[in-house]
């Protein structure tokens, strides 16, 4: 985001236009720069754009790869129509959005509090940061399996900890009502540090003199927080929110190893649904249509933020 801003602000300042302020002819340089770009562009066309296009095209075909000798048959928007009418898909959409919204909100509540807390103590920031890197760096598969052992109903430490507070043993991952919150807790544990990092960096970049004058004017701590810190942090909040929303939609590995969408369908978010339709049942057309819809949802959810960030920085 900042990179985009820099690009727009500084491009005029740099050696601009044809001929350029230094009076050198840049046409040959320009050709070399195209060569610099070529490998990345060619690669992305093959490895990113082509598979996406493949999914888009396939979404208009009926094709079940498990049926021997089956060939793709064009069926227009039938896949999409069937999907919209399928209550399971609607459930999965709702579940995904619930997952994203709930985890992101909780991450921001906890993250903001912790960011404010750790920025008040300058000493030991480096060490604290090191600790917060642990969940963040842990592969999702490891985090998922690890939490699965911790949620274990008979021997898991989590049931032991809650027994201190008199809560009886819970079947965390075996109970359809608890499984989704349990997965959310894992996600919050793993991803809140990124919110903390972004917000803490934002807080530390705030100008000190505003605080000094506010204190001279006799503003209380809460007042400073509400009237100065949080409003000034708004752009940083936006960036963090964008990042978290777009990555929360990606959740796959954690749920795959923790519950595989179960029990029943209680944790089957869209990414898992697409995975099962496409790579377990090999309903290629249906899975493709679902992928396209998923992509549309993610883009809609993030594009508003993208625009906003761009507007603020232009």
């Amino acid at each position: 985001m900042t990179a985009l801003k820099n690009l727009i602000n500084k491009s005029g300042e740099m050696i601009a236009g044809r001929g350029g302020p230094l009076g050198v002819n840049y046409s040959r340089d320009r050709a070399v720069l195209w060569l610099f770009l070529a490998p990345a562009i060619i690669f992305m066309l093959f490895a990113n754009v082509y598979p996406l296009g493949y999914a888009l095209v396939m979404s208009f075909f009926q094709y079940n790869r498990l049926i021997p000798g089956a060939v793709p048959v064009f069926n227009g928007f039938q896949n999409y129509i069937a999907l919209i009418r399928d209550p399971q898909i609607i459930d999965s959409f709702v579940r995904t959005i619930l997952f994203v919204a709930a985890t992101v909100v909780v991450e921001f509540l906890i993250g903001t509090a912790i960011a404010l807390l750790i920025t008040t103590t300058i000493k030991g920031m480096q060490i604290i940061r090191g600790f917060f890197l642990i969940p963040l760096m842990m592969p999702f598969v490891v985090a998922g399996t690890l939490w699965r052992t911790m949620y274990n109903a008979l021997y898991g430490p989590i049931n032991y900890f809650i027994s201190w507070f008199g809560v009886p043993r819970l079947e965390w991952l075996g109970n359809p009502d608890l499984a989704l919150p349990a997965v959310m807790i894992t996600e919050v544990w793993q991803q809140t540090p990124i919110v903390i990092f972004i917000l803490a960096a934002g807080i530390q970049a705030l100008p000190v003199d505003i605080y000094q004058s506010a204190m001279v004017d006799g503003a209380g701590r809460l007042q400073i927080l509400r009237k100065i810190t949080l409003p000034l942090l708004k752009p940083v909040f936006f960036v963090a929110l964008l990042l978290r929303i777009m990555d929360a939609f990606r959740i796959f590995d954690t749920i795959y190893v923790m519950t595989y969408g179960g029990p029943g369908k209680s944790t089957e978010v869209l990414s898992l649904f697409i995975y099962k339709e496409g790579l377990k049942y090999f309903k290629i057309g249906r899975a493709s249509a679902l992928s396209v819809m998923f992509l549309a949802v993610v883009l809609i959810a993030t594009i508003g933020f993208l625009r906003n960030i761009q507007k603020q920085q232009l």
Partner: protein
């Protein structure tokens, strides 16, 4: 006095938070060195009185994860090399203003959209395309998909680093008659070395941790460590010992890298949005 009490409370809260953050990691490590009999008990054993490295020996001797470890390394290192190479070249030519601004903005937005889409969307197309090409269960197919996954990160990160370089250096080198390649290779790259290192570490971690593509595109030969970990889970039971031992092996190198590069890592994690 009041100040002192406040300080103590703040530190106490931080301590509790750190305990919550670190406990799962502690549980991972202690479980991996517990004897089978000490693992599944209630209350759980938090401070094992006796320890063993048997699970680590088992995963190498019985499960033969040496090969998977090698696969993981080859894939992560190749991915890092290729994506940093392609990505930093592209980022350099976008960072300078020779090409039309509209094109550069369009390119960056396209890269951002590629970054936004969830990997599951391309997984099935990859599977179909790669099996048709006869590349199923090969390291090559993994590396191709991983580079595609990493490139957007590299381009955005390196773009930021190149843009931060003082423009005077570039101008001076133009006056001195350096060609574009010389300016890139001799001047810009050495000056952005910390950035290059961070980007590489970041790519390595992305490739090393990746699970979805690996689980779909491999079966035996090219299987990487994250897939092995998932395979210790079956409907009946989870093999806690081997699973946690493999988990530790997977986490430790990443943690060492991450802590070494932590100053710039936040930048990578936030896609260049936070300079931190």
């Amino acid at each position: 006095m009041k100040q002192g009490a406040q300080k103590i409370i703040v530190y106490l809260m931080i301590l509790i938070i750190i305990a919550v953050v670190v406990f799962p990691f502690y549980w991972l490590i202690t479980t991996s060195i517990k004897f089978e009999g000490d693992m599944q008990t209630f209350p759980p054993i938090f401070f094992p009185a006796r320890t063993t490295f048997q699970h680590y020996i088992d995963v190498f001797v019985k499960s033969g994860i040496g090969k998977n470890l090698r696969n993981s390394l080859v894939v992560a290192v190749s991915t890092t090399f290729l994506s940093v190479l392609f990505g930093s070249l592209a980022a350099y030519s976008i960072a300078k203003s020779y090409l039309a601004r509209k094109f550069r903005t369009g390119f960056l937005v396209a890269v951002l959209v590629i970054r936004i889409f969830p990997p599951v969307v391309t997984t099935m197309p990859y599977f179909l395309i790669i099996t048709r090409l006869g590349l199923y269960d090969t390291l090559i197919s993994m590396i191709i998909t991983y580079v595609a996954y990493c490139l957007p990160f590299v381009i955005w990160l390196m773009l930021g680093f190149f843009q931060e370089m003082p423009h005077e250096i570039e101008k001076a080198s133009i006056v001195d008659g350096c060609s574009v390649w010389q300016r890139f290779y001799r001047i810009s790259l050495p000056l952005t070395l910390p950035g290059l290192a961070t980007t590489s570490v970041f790519c390595f971690i992305l490739g090393w941790n990746e699970f979805l593509y690996a689980s779909v595109l491999t079966s035996q030969n090219a299987k990487t460590l994250p897939v092995v970990i998932a395979s210790y889970i079956s409907d009946q039971r989870i093999q806690w010992g081997p699973m946690t031992a493999t988990g530790v092996l997977l986490v430790i190198p990443v943690l060492i890298f991450a802590i070494a590069a932590q100053k710039y890592l936040v930048r990578g994690l936030t896609f260049g949005a936070v300079k931190g």
